[in-house]
């Protein structure tokens, strides 16, 4: 599925968070959004998954304006894994994943055997099939995030949005999650903090700063010393390792001061 935005703007309070974003994610493309904190990555994604109303511009899903879809219809197209989920109530893992079937249900539909089957497949895809009856709140942060991913998978959408889902996860789970997602046969849009992870998994990157897109392209072309300096005000070295994977190394402020002396 293809998602595009045209001159998308968003205002929160009195500050303009997005200043005219032209964004595009093609069918089955893995698109990453990088940028410093407060650059508007999350705001852009939140507009795409409809919890924030843009103040200007438009979003298109397969050429049709997002606002003309009913909420239920857009939830059949886009699933979301967001930062962290805390619930005041105790759900079982099964209950949580079954909620992923909600967009496909009409008011009086009951859960069918097919829904249960999809729920189990989704749990299996994230390696949590043995946790079906566990209470969600007793799981670790990494496990919870996998369950939320399973819920998104149960939605069976052609597009998945990851709103920095790997925050607070240790490196094992970060790679785990990205590996699972990479294998999916759908359009993926993800905000990414870690440039190495962005380079490893994304087909294309957008670089955002101050609510604008300042560059876009394939990781190899986009991730340069100059861009990283401009985005994060950090000096970096970029290399390609033996397997042909882009590796980014950072210089600490500490070292930089020593060098300049």
């Amino acid at each position: 599925m293809k998602i595009t935005t045209q001159q998308l703007r968003a205002v929160l309070g009195n500050t303009e968070i997005l200043r005219g974003i032209d964004f595009e994610a093609n069918d089955r493309e893995f698109v990453g959004i990088i940028g410093p904190n407060g650059s508007g990555k999350s705001t852009l994604l939140r507009c795409l998954y409809r919890v924030l109303n843009p103040s200007g511009g438009a979003i298109y899903l397969d050429g049709k304006e997002l606002s003309s879809y009913r909420v239920k219809e857009s939830a059949q197209k886009i699933a979301v894994v967001a930062q962290h989920n805390y619930y005041n109530f105790e759900f079982s893992v099964r209950d949580v994943v079954m909620m992923g079937r909600a967009p496909h249900k009409r008011a009086l539909d009951r859960d069918t055997a097919e829904d249960y089957q999809i729920m189990r497949q989704s749990l299996k895809a994230v390696g949590m099939q043995d946790f079906e009856e566990r209470s969600f709140s007793t799981l670790s942060g990494g496990e919870q995030q996998r369950i939320i991913l399973a819920r998104a998978l149960a939605q069976q959408t052609p597009c998945l949005i990851l709103d920095e889902p790997t925050n607070h996860l240790d490196i094992k789970y970060q790679l785990w999650l990205m590996d699972i997602v990479k294998k999916l046969d759908c359009t993926i849009i993800s905000a990414v903090h870690d440039l190495n992870i962005a380079a490893m998994y994304c087909d294309r990157l957008y670089a955002m700063k101050h609510g604008e897109i300042i560059a876009q392209g394939r990781p190899r072309e986009l991730l340069t010393k100059e861009l990283i300096k401009e985005l994060y005000e950090v000096d970096a070295e970029i290399m390609t390792d033996q397997e042909g994977i882009l590796r980014i190394f950072y210089h600490s402020y500490h070292k930089r001061e020593e060098r300049s002396e």
Binding site: Y49, R50, V51, V71, K72, E73, S74, A75, Q76, I78, A79, V80, A82, N85, Y86, Y87, N88, F89, E90, F91, S92, V93, D95, M99, G100, A102, P103, K105, A107, L108, D111, D130, E133, R134, S135, F136, S137, T138, R151, Q155
Partner: protein
């Protein structure tokens, strides 16, 4: 790894759920049949059933079972009262589940949030000042519903003022509105009645009583109960999503705004008519959902039917206790439910698990 205490609900799994539904239904019917034979007047068990048999199906001797004091006691005193208890128990605990989902907080309850007091104020307005007589026969109930609805909107509005609602703000708003409403209705009752009658009336409205049960009110109440419970039986998916919050619900295809208002209307209807029929009976909507949640988990597919059944059973027995606990006199049922419910409420408040305000928002 899969030890029992990590599972969600002690009795997780389908078979337990169906066994529980069947068991509770059976217990409800048996309790009804047994409770109808208990009372201050000693009647033979067989006679009691023959009266019911005659009244419902017209089978039996009209001379003995169709009229007279025995027939009247069974048909106009005992049975309507038990039916009322069942309907109110089901209404209040279902409304409790729904309120908890709407405000995303397991401490919510029609009584704690002041909604029952709002209903009671609406009803007093109707009875004493004759407000809303134009609404027809059930106008007292309708006014109680309007009172309940206004207070529930008010509590949610107050709790959301200046940022997201937390448990603390929610409970404070509920307590404050509840005090305002019960003060006004007590005032009205006091001014209107002479001093002796006033106490009785205030007691009836604030402590609850099933004593004035009759078939006419029962009819209205049975309608709101059955319609309400059946409606919420179909709404388990949205109720579940409500607990996740607005944002997650949107990404899962449901915009909760409209539903929240609709649920408030339906639950206020249930609470309004329950209060109109029997005054304020507290904590039923808190205790029952909590027990079910411990046993069967949070999924509303199971919550709604089990809570309706257990609530009905609970109030039926609470009423039997109220009638038999003290000799010669009857305990107001609200006192009994509060004696059981308030400690449960405190225990819930103390338990850290329920994120008392801070962590969630």
């Amino acid at each position: 790894m899969k030890s029992v205490d990590l599972k969600n609900g002690v009795l997780y799994g389908k078979p337990f759920y169906w066994i529980a539904v069947l068991l509770l239904s059976a217990m409800l019917i048996l309790s009804l049949l047994w409770a109808v034979t208990i009372g201050s007047v000693d009647l033979a068990m067989g006679d009691v059933y023959r009266v019911i048999l005659f009244k419902t199906f017209g089978i039996g001797d009209a001379q003995i079972y169709g009229s007279g004091s025995m027939s009247d006691i069974v048909w106009y005193v005992r049975l309507p009262r038990l039916v009322l208890a069942i309907a109110i128990g089901a209404s209040l605990s279902t409304a409790g589940v729904v309120m908890q989902a709407i405000v995303k907080n397991p401490l919510a309850d029609p009584y704690v949030l002041g909604i029952s007091s709002g209903a009671s104020l609406g009803a007093t307005f109707a009875i004493i000042l004759g407000v809303g007589t134009a609404l027809g026969n059930g106008y007292v109930g309708i006014m109680a519903f309007i009172g309940a609805f206004l207070v529930s909107i008010g509590v949610i509005f107050l709790a959301n003022m200046g940022g997201k609602a937390t448990s603390v703000k929610l409970l404070l708003a509920g307590t404050a509105l509840s005090s305002v409403c019960s003060a006004i209705s007590s005032f009205l009752l006091y001014v209107k009645n002479n001093s002796s009658g006033a106490m009785e009336a205030v007691m009836r409205w604030t402590m609850g009583s099933l004593a004035s049960a009759n078939w006419e009110t029962n009819q209205l109440l049975l309608i709101t109960t059955i319609v309400g419970v059946c409606f919420f039986l179909t709404q388990y998916r949205t109720l579940n999503l409500m607990l996740l919050g607005d944002e997650s619900a949107i990404t899962l295809g449901t915009d909760l705004h409209r539903w929240r208002i609709l649920y408030l209307v339906v639950s206020s209807l249930m609470i309004g008519f329950a209060v109109y029929a029997a005054g304020v009976i507290g904590f039923v909507g808190l205790i029952i959902p909590h027990i079910i949640r411990i046993l069967f988990g949070t999924d509303h597919k199971k919550m709604v039917p089990l809570c309706a059944l257990l609530g009905a059973l609970f109030l039926l027995w609470a009423d039997v206790l109220c009638r038999t606990l003290l000799e010669r006199t009857e305990l107001p049922i609200g006192i009994l439910t509060s004696m059981i419910g308030a400690p449960v409420f405190i225990w819930l408040m103390v338990r850290k698990k329920y994120g008392f305000g801070g962590k969630e928002s």
